[in-house]
């Protein structure tokens, strides 16, 4: 998400960094690149202009031009401005202490309202609140069925009335049923519409007035382009919005519409949808999003994701083992199995500071295949071997390799790798967050993490021949040429 924006900004900053001294002239050049990047990310033009005006005013101030690290100063200005535009944060659903809280979802056709209904229900269920879903989308054929299927999957009651043609009446009846059944939350799934359709917008306004929902959320497709200002504006005019949910941000959509919608409606962005499954709804955090845009990584989100997959007790135990240097291949395997879920590696990497570039690498099939291979190899070992890999000799190695269907050197590489990792892990487990970060950076720069299959589980290759001075010079020249070409392309 936001990748293109990040890339564009990165190259803009790179070009700024290259300059020894910043002048107003080359700062403007950099700012222009920032503007281009935002437009390519689908931020609406008026919003871009507004944003750039704020940033430019500050960037051309004395403070930036005279500071020792002007480009860092510029990054900070943009970061602060992004946080300001995207914030303030409020991902609470504001449930009433007693009585029924009514949440109404509206949005354009295909923005993901019904799916978001399911995701919100899941969120509420996790907090031990059972919502009632109301199928108020009477436009799309089978919308009612879709909601029923979702309700069934989640074990959430769904109210619908196939004979009723008036969505207001359906909502009223749904609300009455909720009171009857003591449901604390009612979620209204309204029909999708086109922003310019006055009649349908009026109908939405009628539901709003007659039912008086406590929270009205606008659901916006993360791939929306320049039109986001128009449609969000129309919804904002027809209804009193309380929040925005942006969906489909798990692909490579740049999500710039988020800025547009925020600017137009002025209501908080509540959640972002990052996947097809019901638990893929994250509370929105402007700092995290701004960091992601600027490729500064989002440690908080990474930590939360990590907590979600490894449970607390398990984690503590593992940490203790790691600190004591007692981690076995079994523990290692458990860890791998948890991260081997499809797509997860890439997601985590995308959240880590400075690891954005690794993301593509980690998402590849090959990387996940590598992990599976490693797991397979460990599975082929006896319990004793897993506890103490040192006992693995040539014949044991041969047996394990055959069992896992790999070549023998892969096994020795794995063992070597694991022995190398142990002290590193020990160091990681014993230190504070700052030290850990430093360690990660060190790891990254050493290249230990750049290999997707957890670090060189590969058969040894030849070291190649020595290059003559002339050859080396030629290679250097080519590299520089390539770099220049990229810089031109990027700038």
């Amino acid at each position: 998400m936001f990748e293109s924006l990040s890339e564009g900004l990165q190259s803009a900053f790179k070009s700024l960094r290259g300059k020894g001294k910043l002048t107003e002239g080359n700062m403007r050049e950099g700012l222009q690149a920032v503007e281009q990047a935002m437009l390519e990310a689908d931020v609406s033009y008026p919003v871009v202009q507004d944003f750039m005006q704020h940033v430019t005013e500050q960037a051309l101030g004395r403070r930036v031009l005279l500071s020792l690290r002007p480009h860092e100063e510029l990054v900070r200005i943009i970061y602060d401005e992004l946080v300001k535009v995207l914030g303030p944060v409020d991902s609470s659903l504001h449930l009433k202490k007693d009585g029924v809280t009514v949440i109404m979802l509206c949005g354009l056709q295909g923005s993901g309202k019904t799916t978001t209904c399911g995701k919100l229900s899941q969120l509420l269920l996790e907090e031990k609140v059972r919502p009632l879903l109301v199928a108020a989308d009477l436009q799309r054929p089978a919308a009612i069925d879709q909601l029923h299927v979702i309700g069934e999957k989640l074990g959430v009651p769904v109210y619908s009335d196939r004979d009723q043609k008036d969505p207001v009446k359906v909502c009223q009846a749904g609300l009455a049923k909720a009171k009857q059944e003591d449901a604390r939350v009612v979620i209204l799934d309204t029909a999708g519409r086109l922003a310019i359709d006055e009649e349908l917008m009026a109908e939405l306004g009628r539901i709003d007035r007659k039912i008086g929902p406590d929270q009205v959320y606008l659901v916006v497709d993360g791939m929306t382009g320049q039109d986001a200002v128009n449609s969000a504006g129309a919804f904002n005019k027809a209804l009193e919005l309380d929040g925005v949910v942006m969906t489909k941000l798990d692909g490579d959509a740049r999500g710039g519409a988020l800025l547009s919608v925020k600017q137009v409606t002025g209501v908080p962005i509540k959640f972002i949808g990052t996947g097809e499954h019901f638990d893929a709804l994250e509370p929105f955090r402007p700092e995290g999003m701004a960091s992601r845009i600027l490729e500064m990584g989002d440690i908080v989100a990474a930590a939360r994701e990590a907590h979600r997959i490894v449970d607390e007790a398990e984690r503590e135990e593992l940490e203790k083992k790691m600190a004591a240097g007692e981690m076995t291949l079994d523990d290692f395997k458990n860890l791998l199995e948890k991260v081997a879920k499809p797509g997860l590696m890439g997601k985590m990497m995308g959240l880590m500071p400075g690891m954005g570039q690794l993301k593509g690498l980690m998402q590849s099939e090959e990387a996940e295949g590598g992990i599976r291979q490693t797991i397979g190899a460990i599975n082929s070992m006896t319990a004793a071997e897993r506890r103490n890999p040192k006992i693995i000799d040539a014949s044991r190695r041969q047996r394990i390799a055959q069992g896992a269907g790999v070549q023998a050197p892969v096994i020795s590489q794995l063992v070597k790798q694991f022995e190398m990792m142990k002290p590193l892990m020990q160091g990681l487990a014993g230190q504070g967050v700052g030290d850990r970060m430093a360690m990660m950076r060190q790891l990254q720069s050493s290249g230990a993490l750049t290999d997707p299959s957890m670090g060189g589980l590969k058969v040894k290759k030849s070291t190649g021949k020595r290059l003559s001075n002339a050859e080396r010079a030629k290679l250097k020249k080519e590299r520089e040429k390539e770099l220049r070409r990229r810089r031109r392309k990027g700038g």
Binding site: S4, Q36, L39, E40, A41, D42, S44, Y45, P46, L108, Q109, G110, S111, G112, Q139, R140, P141, A142, A143, D145, Q146, L147, H148, V149, I150, K153, L194, A195, I196, D221, M223, T224, G225, Q226, D227, A228, N230, S231, G233, A234, K248, D250, G251, D252, A253, R254, G256, A257, E276, P342, G343, Q363, E365
Partner: protein
């Protein structure tokens, strides 16, 4: 919004003209009031200004009463109009720079400039025919792909209605076995249109549904089979591989099928549509685009860079929620609507 925009642009244009007008009036007042030396200087300055304006004006524009000088302000406005169509910042910049070069220092009407850009886009998007490439003999298989919520199922219903109205025997394949109730949705449409439909069990392998549909079309002499697929993001590798498989098995049941692979794009989509076109073309070999939801305020200008980069033609446009709201793409009216 689009209408509002053009109104606003007009108002602004009128505003600048007005300003110019009041400026002249003030100048006239000064002339009448001051007289003497100051009057002479003022006259001289005015004279020079006039010469200056004449010198800066292209001969071709000398006799135009109104219009605006091509300056930064006009270029900025032009850029905004271009970007708002979703054609992307880079193409918009390219066009703006070219206009700046060609018209620098001239007085023009914004509408004339847009008109020439419009002509160019129309030429670029022009194509031989919008319709479907029918199979020489046997049933024509149309596979429909796209991201979640782009409007695939509705577009399929509209296509089926269209073919049905043309007197063709149509069979639908409910290949979206993932989304809850997608099969039901298509079944409802099939019932309304009066065509046949092949469905699988929920969460069945979509490739098996596609295969069964193509097979039924071949065996029972249908003219056209339209096959639905589940929405997927182009970055979901495993789902894209599934699409490749669907394509492959269709080819196994009918030689040369699918004859058309239509990518459904949401007209409100921004630059991500380029990535969609790339991803789906690589895997499914798209032959054309259905631009859905073009009846809103979105312009769908992203099909311009898509045509440029991948040569993918737009075949149909979706213009409403009704079954008949599907039209063959027409470069003329599309480019006409871009800057309206």
């Amino acid at each position: 919004m689009a209408f509002w925009r053009s109104d606003k642009a007009k108002r602004e244009e009128a505003g600048t003209n007005e300003k110019a007008g009041t400026g002249e009036k003030a100048g006239a007042g000064e002339k009448a009031g001051a007289g003497g030396e100051a009057g002479f200087l003022a006259r001289l300055r005015r004279g020079l200004e006039k010469t200056n304006r004449v010198l800066n004006t292209d001969v071709r524009d000398l006799f135009k009463g109104e219009g605006r000088l091509v300056d930064e302000e006009l270029l900025g406005e032009l850029f905004s109009r271009l970007v708002t169509t979703d054609m992307g910042a880079a193409p918009a910049r390219r066009i703006r720079d070219r206009i700046a070069k060609d018209y620098r220092g001239r007085v023009v009407q914004m509408e004339d400039v847009l008109g020439s850009i419009r002509d160019e886009i129309r030429e670029m998007l022009r194509q031989d025919s919008g319709g479907v490439a029918w199979a020489a003999e046997g049933p024509t298989v149309v596979l429909v792909v796209g991201v979640n919520g782009s409007g695939k199922t509705t577009s399929i219903a509209k296509l089926a209605r269209r073919f049905h109205a043309q007197g063709k025997r149509v069979v639908l394949g409910a290949g979206d076995t993932f989304r809850a109730a997608a099969v039901e949705q298509l079944t409802v449409w099939a019932g309304r249109i009066g065509c046949e439909i092949v469905t699988g069990k929920p969460e069945a392998d979509p490739a098996s549904v596609a295969f069964a549909t193509a097979k039924k079309a071949a065996e029972e002499g249908f003219d056209v089979a339209v096959i639905d697929t589940a929405g997927r993001l182009q970055t979901q590798t495993h789902l894209m591989q599934q699409l490749e498989k669907i394509r492959r098995v269709i080819g196994k049941s009918i030689e040369g099928a699918p004859h058309e692979v239509l990518l459904v794009l949401d007209a409100t989509a921004g630059q991500n549509a380029i990535s969609q076109a790339r991803g789906f073309s690589e895997v499914a070999g798209c032959t054309g685009i259905v631009l859905a939801k073009l009846d809103g305020s979105a312009k769908g200008g992203v099909v311009i860079p898509i045509r440029e980069q991948f040569g993918l033609p737009v075949k149909f446009v979706g213009l409403g929620e009704g079954l008949d709201d599907l039209a063959e793409f027409d470069a003329e009216s599309f480019s006409e609507a871009l800057f309206r």
